[in-house]
């Protein structure tokens, strides 16, 4: 396994990290964070044109040497997500889409039924579909079956910073699919990203954990190092968990140092 690179749909990405552009205080800060993160893909959302908007986010992303990955954030149904993906393809000249179909207002958890429908339709239209999904191994396999180029299970609700609530599910997803698994949503800090890779994920997507950190550029660098550390650790192979201690120093050859009173 390569430590740095991630391959999705035949495209080699130089980083296992995908950056979400939401929440950065300015385009300048976003550009600096992209550079610090080393990532190739940066998500964007599509919204009505704001005639008063200052500067172009596309310039901010491209000047930092990255490419846009449009999402369908805000969509609640499959038809809405499909139309948004078509608009994104037209606006941004990319077939790639991070597919989001939200099913609950409080948790922003994905609607698996609508997601699967939308994924199937978009694959048929030639899109490279990266669905944001719940941490359900069966749904992940169904998404792969309809042609998703990767699956993006959540660690916890978007923006919650709770980390990976169910590591076991991620290991099952890793075994259930052969397409890349990219942990999406819920990360709080760099160790969460390292854990994701150690559990078998191929990549990590992070938005809020970076953009809303006290120092977003420093956190981008931390996330970059974390995914590398996770990949190195996974390749190196963790030791098995034990109930009791296994001495790391030899037990033989101990000097006789017990006190005299203890011997009598």
């Amino acid at each position: 396994m390569s430590i740095e690179a991630l391959s999705i749909a035949g495209r080699e990405l130089p980083s296992r990290l995908i950056l979400g552009s939401g929440g950065f205080a300015s385009h300048e800060l976003l550009s600096e964070a992209i550079a610090a993160s080393g990532c190739e893909l940066v998500t964007v959302a599509l919204r009505r044109v704001d005639p008063g908007a200052q500067g172009s986010i596309l310039d901010a992303i491209e000047s930092a040497g990255a490419s846009v990955l449009p999402n369908t954030a805000g969509c609640r149904t499959a038809p809405e997500a499909v139309r948004t993906a078509r608009l994104a393809r037209e606006a941004l000249a990319t077939e790639w889409v991070k597919l989001e179909v939200i099913g609950d207002e409080e948790t922003l958890l994905p609607d698996g039924v609508e997601l699967l429908r939308a994924a199937e339709q978009l694959v048929a239209e030639g899109f490279v579909v990266l669905p944001y999904c719940s941490d359900d191994p069966v749904l992940a396999r169904r998404l792969q079956d309809v042609g998703a180029a990767a699956v993006m299970p959540l660690g916890a609700p978007i923006g919650s910073g709770m980390g990976i609530r169910n590591p076991y599910s991620l290991t099952l997803i890793r075994r259930a699919v052969s397409v890349p698994v990219i942990l999406d949503a819920g990360l709080g800090t760099a160790s969460d990203a390292a854990l994701a890779i150690e559990l078998g994920c191929d990549g990590v997507m992070s938005a809020s954990a970076i953009s809303r950190a006290h120092d977003p550029v420093a956190m981008a660098a931390a996330m970059r190092a974390a995914v590398q550390a996770g990949a190195l650790a996974r390749a190196a192979g963790r030791i098995p968990r034990r109930t009791y201690a296994l001495p790391s120093s030899p037990e033989s050859g101990m000097a006789e140092l017990a006190e005299a009173s203890a011997r009598s």
């Binding site: 979400g20 939401g22 929440g23 959302a45 596309l58 139309r83 037209e90 606006a91 941004l92």
Partner: protein, 67 residues
């Protein structure tokens, strides 16, 4: 009535899409935007010749920070 991004406009039926884009300070040359009319994406190569019917709902979108 013709609507652009949800707002009623003074455009007359038969107005060109370019006139709708001009209301947003955009032209048919603008990069990074997409247009849908009544929910269907209008491919860029048809922007120039497209005229708007009465009741048309034009949506013009661009990339913003998100995700």
């Amino acid at each position: 009535m013709i609507y652009v991004n949800g707002e009623p406009t003074e455009l007359r039926p038969g107005a060109k899409l370019a006139q709708a884009l001009a209301l947003l300070s955009l032209s048919v040359e603008a990069r990074g935007i997409a247009v849908a009319i009544d929910g269907e994406v209008l491919p860029r190569e048809r922007w120039e010749q497209t005229a708007l019917d009465d009741g048309a709902r034009v949506e013009v979108v661009a990339a913003i920070q998100g995700g």
